[in-house]
Amino acid sequence: MEFQMNKVVDSIQQAIKASGLKDGMTISFHHHMRNGDYVMNMVLDAIAQAGIKDITVNASSFFDVHAPILDHIRNGVVTGLECNYMSSLIGKAVSEGILEKPVVFRSHGGRPSDMEKGTSHIDVAFVAAPTCDWSSNCTGRIGKSACGPMGYAVSDAMYADKVVAITDNLVEKLDDISIDGKYIDFIVNVDQIGDPKGIVSGTTQITRDPVGLRMAENAAKVIKASGLLKDGFSFQTGAGGATLAASKFVREMMIKEGIQGSFCLGGITSYMVQMLHEGLFKELLDVQCFDLDAVRSLSEDSNHKEITASEYAGVCCDSAVNHLDAALLGATQVDLDFNVNVHTDSNGYIIGGSGGHSDVAAGSKLCIIIAPLTRARLPLVVDRVVTISTPGNTIDVLVTQRGIAVNTKYGKNKELKQRLIDAHLPIMEIEDLKRIAEQYSGVPSPLETSDRVVGNVIYRDGTQIDTIKMVLGN
């Protein structure tokens, strides 16, 4: 075993030197430590110290904790960004034009697929590994910085020219591994790779807001009336208060009717862990944990399974999203063609990204968008979304607190619509939802943007689906 230990180098600086990183190259990171990640900032600081410039950073997601990257952009160390999601602090700077090159936005499924196809090349991947063993195998399940799965880092490890694992827990031998040591070229042992408390995302509280509860109840009733809620049911939902409430209603219906589902997919929360333990689902397929209960469950329960980003949402394989019955997703805007925006706010500022949104919408049998009719006066439904994140032909139903619109625009869902009408759900046309909101709020003035492109949105199949323009006044 000992001979493998020669992969261990003393510092991130040494790993960078050994990797052969040069000006103009592309490096990558994964985001399982979410807003608690220390690794990206440590690596970029070391790259800046080494005098290397013109680096493109491909990270599965950027969070506010990564804000120091803005200084590296100003200093020319970083000149390109690629990601599936970008939180609002970095999004604001990008929207105001900090980068000359447009940011490349992909989805959680599109990113690994582009690496597999060779259309996205990584020179050096930096992998935050909560535990590494002497054979360079990595896992996220254990260690003081345990994050759960490492699903988004697997394609990076497999396809990057060089791979540096950065860990704060080096052990002799691991049984369960997330990434095979054969892909790892260098290991750096540091004091701390992150703060696991920063993993917690969204909320673990079921909303008490009556608007949220009404939306959640409507969404659960749609799932029931669709006919999909039967033995073998599979489900994905996010970590928001209203989607969590919808999960609660679905759970109650499953208990009442004695239904046993097959799997829950996605970013996994403690609520899904609870449903697994109650026997409502046979397994959880987990690409990343949204809270520490989920991290614990992954290491303790064999029915809680770790999957890679490709297995989750990949385009060129039979990924899990293609087996989903129902999915609940959010939206900042939806337009009359059911296109969904999760990239930008109503003022054109980048506040997110697809993540797995467009993958799940494309794969699931019933894709439900759940969102309030207005947020702080702004109507949800608009003539045309600021940014198309997910194309309307992959969306089936829009649920709001005031009414439910079924997407029959693309010659589909006629039977579904009749089922929902028969179940006495408040079905209306999407145009009606827009009109109701505008009766309260007034018609919003259209957004004016600059002509300069600050982001390109790449759909999961590799084609460009939209561009994001710089906001005005910069």
Binding site: S346, N347, A376, Y440, P444, L447
Partner: protein
């Protein structure tokens, strides 16, 4: 109505507006809003109509809007004015 003292109404919560009024020799309206790009004209109109209804011709009116509907803006402005006038305590 005349603004004779400083007064306020509303909150900084989402979908509400915080309105601050104070005495001045001319009428000045300052609006900041999270939905300024979409609803600046509507907010300005709601404020001016409310002031006209109350017969307010002078004062500094500051609106910090977090996406309030017109009816909310009208109510917050009216309350602030009444608190700032002779009748208000």
């Amino acid at each position: 109505m005349e603004i004779i003292r400083k007064a306020w109404a509303g909150t900084g919560e989402s979908s509400d507006a915080y309105v601050l009024v104070s005495p001045a020799n001319t009428l000045e309206i300052e609006i900041s809003s999270v939905v300024y790009n979409q609803y600046a004209k509507a907010i300005d109109k709601a404020v001016r109509e409310t002031l006209a209804d109350l017969g307010v011709e002078k004062g500094t009116i500051t609106i910090n809007d977090k996406g309030a509907l017109d009816c909310v803006i009208q109510a917050r402005v009216e309350t602030a004015i009444k608190r700032a006038s002779e009748a208000g305590v």
